[in-house]
Amino acid sequence: MPRLPLEGLRVLEITVVWAGPYCGSFLADLGAEVIRVESTKAFVPLTRGAAPHLTQAVIDNLPLYSGGTPGRVPGERPFNRSPMFNSHARNKRSMTVNLLDPGGREIFDRLVAISDVLVENNPTETMEKLGISYESLKAVKDNIIMLRMPAYGSTGPYRDFRAHGVHIEGVVGHTMLRGYEDTDASYNTTVLMSDAAAGAQGAFAVLAALHHRKRTGEGQLVELGQAENVFPFLGEYYMDHLMNGRAHGPTGNRHPRALQNCYPCAGDNRWVAVTVYDNQQWRALCQVIGAPDLEADAGLADAAARRSRQDEIDPRIAAWTRTQSPDAAMHALQERGIPAGAVMNQADVFADSHVRSRQFFQESFQEDCGAHLYPGPLYKMSATPLSIRRGPVMFGQDNEYVYRELLGYSAEEYEAFEAAGHVGTDYAEGVG
C-alpha cells in the first residue's frame, strides 16, 4: 500500500478561475504530482486573484474572496496571496513556460512526454490558439489522458460562448430555481455551484479514464461541458417537466414535501435552518417551541397539510427561535431528532466544536503568506490519510524542480530560459 493513493501519477494543469483548479486539487490531495503550467506572459483574471499586481485601492473594493489577501494588503506578490486561489492550491506544483513561443512548446512537449494526464478549462478558441489538442498531446505521449472542460462543449452552437459558473447555472435552470419566492430572477446574487460540480466531477472523470487505461493501456480524450456536467444535479426538476409539464420558479428556503425554512435567531443577522419531515419530528418541534395548540391541531397531522399551512406555522417557530442563539436552537432541536443547523459565518465555522474535532482545518505555511489554517481535504481515508502536505503553490515555485530535475535541462539552459521569459516567479511587465 502506497502512502497516498495516486502516488506516482503526474498531472499537468492549464487551468483558470475555479473549475479547473478545483479539479486538480482533488487529484493533488490524493497524492498525484499536479503541476500547474503557468506563464509569465499571460494572466487570466480571477485565477490568481483579480489582477497580477493589485493596488491597495483595488483590493479595498474587492469582495472578500478575491480581495481578502493576508491583512488586506497586496504585498509584493499579490498573485501568491489571493484566497480565491490559495484555498484550492495546496499540494500542487507550479512551473512557468510561454506556450506561444516555439521554444516554450518544446519544453512543454518534454513535460507532456513524462506525464499521465492534462486538465484544462479554457475557452475552446484559447486552446486552439495555443495549438494544444488531444491529438497534439497524443503525438508526444501515446496513452495521455486529456480532460477538457469548456463551458458548453467543443462543438455545437455555443462552442465559443464565454461563461463563468453563474451563466452556466442560468442556462441549466438552476438560477430560475433559487431565489426568494416573492422576487424575480433579477434579485439573484452570484453563486458558483456549477464550478464545484465541474471540478469534482472532472476529477471523477480523470479517475475513470485512469481505470480504463489500467485495464486496456489506452489513454483518451474526456470532454466535460460544464453546463451538461451539472444538469444531472437538477434531474428531478427535468423529470417533473417531462412528467407534468411543470415550470419551476424560485423555491426560496421551502421544501416540496416538508416544513422547512430559515428562521431568525437572537442577535443581529443570526439564523437557524430547520426541516421537519415527519410526524414525530413535528410533535417534538411543537414541544420544543411550546406550541401545544399546534401539536393538538388534527389539521396539521401530516406533512402535506403542514406544508400547505406553513405561512401560519412559520411565525410560531420564529417566535421561539428569536429567543435562541443559532447554536442553542440547533442543539435543542437536534436533541429531539429534528434536522436543524446554525447558519454559520466564517468565524462560526472556525469556532465550531464539531468542525474542530474533525480537524477539517490544517495549518500550512507559504512564504508570501506565512502560516495559516487552511480548509483541508474533503473526506477521510483510513489507510491512506490525506493532508495538506504543501502550502498553496506560489507562481513558478517549482521551476527549478521541473526544468532541472524532471526535464534534465542544464544550469546554462535554465538561465537562458529565464532570460527568454519562460522561467520566472513574477508576471512580465504590462501583463494583466
Partner: protein
C-alpha cells in the same frame, strides 16, 4: 460489448435517497456492475416525486428513476439475522461498498465496515453521512438546507435585508455524491501508479465522507471565504442587491424572460461595444474606475442604453449580441427551454429509454464524454426486487435455498413486493 471506463468493478450499494445513489450512479453509468440492496419498503426516494400526474407510485418516482440507472436491484431485509450469510457472499464478491446510513446503523445491520473488511480485506468501503462518522454532531439529522446553512456560504447567499437563502433543489447532496465517487475511485486505484512494486498491493479501507465537509471545502465561495477570514478576520456578507456589483453585472429582464450579463469594470468596454458604441459611453468618464460605483451613472447607463437594448431582444437574440462582443452572459432558462436547447440536443445530452412501469422517458444523460469508454444507458432503474433471484443465483444459492430466503422474508422478489 460493454466498454465503460469502470468495466470490471463490482459495487455493493446499500445507499438510499440522493447522495449515495448519485455516487453509485456515476460508477454504474460509467460501466461498473452495481447491485443495489433495498429494504422491503424500498429506497425512500421511491416515495418522493415527481410522479406522473402527481400520483405517487413506487416505480414511477422521477427522482428514483434518475438516480438509479444502470443498477440491478435486490430486496434484502438486513434486519433479519438470516441475511448474514448472503451479506458475506456479497462482501466477498464486491470491490466497493457504498452506504449512507446514519453512523452506527450499518454496524447494527451487520454490514459495518469492520465486518465487511474482515471478510474482504481489499474492499473499498465508502460511508457517506451527514456530519461524518466521528465528532459531537455525528448523530445529528441533516437536510439540504442544514448542510448549506452550516457548511456552505448560505449566510452570504441572498439579499442583505432578507434571510439567507439556500440553493435550488438538492444540489448539495448531489455534490456530496460526486465527492464520494472521487474518494472511492481514488482508493480503488491506490497503488496503480507507484514505481515501487511492493507498494502495488492495494488493500481496502474505509472512507468517511461527511456531507458537511463537502460544503466546507466547496469552491462555491466557501473555501475561499473561510481562508479569507483567516487572512483578514473579515466576514462575507449578503449584498444589498442582486448581481455582483458594478454594471451591467446581474440578471435583467429581456423581451421573453430574464438574461444574465456580466460586463462590468474591466469588461465594460465590451458591454459598450455590444450596445453599438454609443458616442456618450465612449467618453473618458465611463472608463474611470469610480464610474462603476456611481449610482447616477449606473441609472443613466441602464435607462438610456442598456435596458432599451435588452428589452427589445429575446434571450436568444441578447445572447448572440452579447457573445458577439465577448460579453460574459447567458439566458435564464427553465427545464422546458433546456428540453429543446439546440446545443444539448445536438450534442446528445439526453437519452431515451423504456421502463416497465414508468414507460418511455427522456433522461438526463452523460455528464461528460469519454471517447474510448463512453457513458451508456444499459438499463433503467430496477423495479423493487427485480433482480433478487438472479443475484441470489449468482451468489451461489440453489433454487430451494432461494425459495426459503423468500419464504422467510429475508429476500423479496418483484411479484412479492408488488402484492
Amino acid at each position: 460489448m460493454a466498454n465503460g471506463a469502470l468495466t470490471g468493478l463490482k459495487v455493493l450499494d446499500f445507499s438510499h435517497h440522493v447522495a449515495g445513489p448519485y455516487c453509485s450512479k456515476l460508477l454504474a453509468d460509467y460501466g461498473a456492475e452495481v447491485i443495489k440492496i433495498e429494504p422491503p419498503s424500498g429506497d425512500g426516494a421511491r416515495r418522493f416525486g415527481p410522479f406522473p400526474g402527481d400520483v405517487a407510485h413506487p416505480e414511477k418516482s422521477g427522482l428514483f428513476l434518475h438516480l438509479n440507472t444502470n443498477k440491478r436491484g435486490a430486496v434484502i431485509d438486513l434486519k433479519r439475522t438470516q441475511s448474514a450469510g448472503l451479506v458475506e457472499r456479497l462482501a466477498v464478491w464486491a470491490d466497493i461498498v457504498v452506504e449512507n446510513f446514519r453512523p452506527g446503523v450499518a454496524d447494527r445491520l451487520g454490514i459495518g465496515y469492520e465486518r465487511l473488511l474482515g471478510l474482504n480485506p481489499a474492499l473499498v468501503y465508502t460511508s457517506i453521512s451527514n456530519f461524518g462518522q466521528t465528532g459531537p454532531y455525528r448523530d445529528y439529522r441533516g437536510s439540504e438546507i442544514v448542510f448549506y446553512g452550516m457548511g456552505g456560504e448560505m449566510h452570504s447567499t441572498g439579499l442583505a435585508e432578507r434571510e439567507p437563502l439556500k440553493l435550488g433543489g438538492n444540489v448539495g447532496l448531489y455534490q456530496a455524491g460526486v465527492v464520494a465517487a472521487v474518494a472511492t475511485m481514488g482508493a480503488t486505484l491506490a497503488g496503480s501508479f507507484s514505481i515501487d512494486d511492493s507498494a502495488d498491493t492495494a488493500t481496502g479501507q474505509h472512507i468517511d465522507v461527511a456531507i458537511l465537509e463537502t460544503q466546507l471545502g466547496s469552491v462555491d465561495r466557501r473555501q475561499s471565504a473561510l481562508l479569507a477570514h483567516q487572512y483578514t478576520g473579515e466576514l462575507s456578507h449578503r449584498p444589498a442587491s442582486g448581481g455582483s456589483g458594478g454594471y451591467p453585472n446581474a440578471v435583467y429582464p429581456c423581451a421573453d424572460g430574464y438574461f444574465q450579463i456580466n460586463g462590468s469594470r474591466m469588461y465594460f468596454p465590451r458591454a459598450v461595444a455590444m450596445l453599438g458604441n454609443p458616442p456618450e459611453l465612449l467618453e473618458e468618464r465611463w472608463r474611470d474606475p469610480g464610474s462603476q460605483g456611481n449610482p447616477e451613472m449606473q441609472e443613466h447607463f441602464e435607462s438610456e442604453y442598456f435596458l432599451p437594448w435588452l428589452l427589445q431582444r429575446t434571450r436568444a437574440e441578447a445572447w448572440e449580441g452579447a457573445q458577439g462582443n465577448r460579453v460574459l452572459s447567458g439566458p435564464i432558462n427553465t427545464m422546458a427551454d433546456l428540453d429543446v436547447d439546440p446545443s444539448f440536443n445536438a450534442r446528445g445530452v439526453f437519452t431515451e429509454a423504456d421502463h416497465p412501469a414508468a414507460g418511455r422517458l427522456r433522461y438526463p444523460g452523460r455528464p461528460f464524454m469519454m471517447d474510448r469508454s463512453p457513458w451508456e444507458l444499459r438499463r433503467t432503474a430496477p423495479l423493487l426486487g427485480q433482480h433478487t433471484v438472479e443475484i441470489l443465483e449468482e451468489m451461489g444459492y440453489a433454487g430451494d435455498e432461494i425459495a426459503e430466503l423468500v419464504d422467510s422474508a429475508v429476500a423479496a422478489t418483484t411479484s412479492a413486493t408488488q402484492e
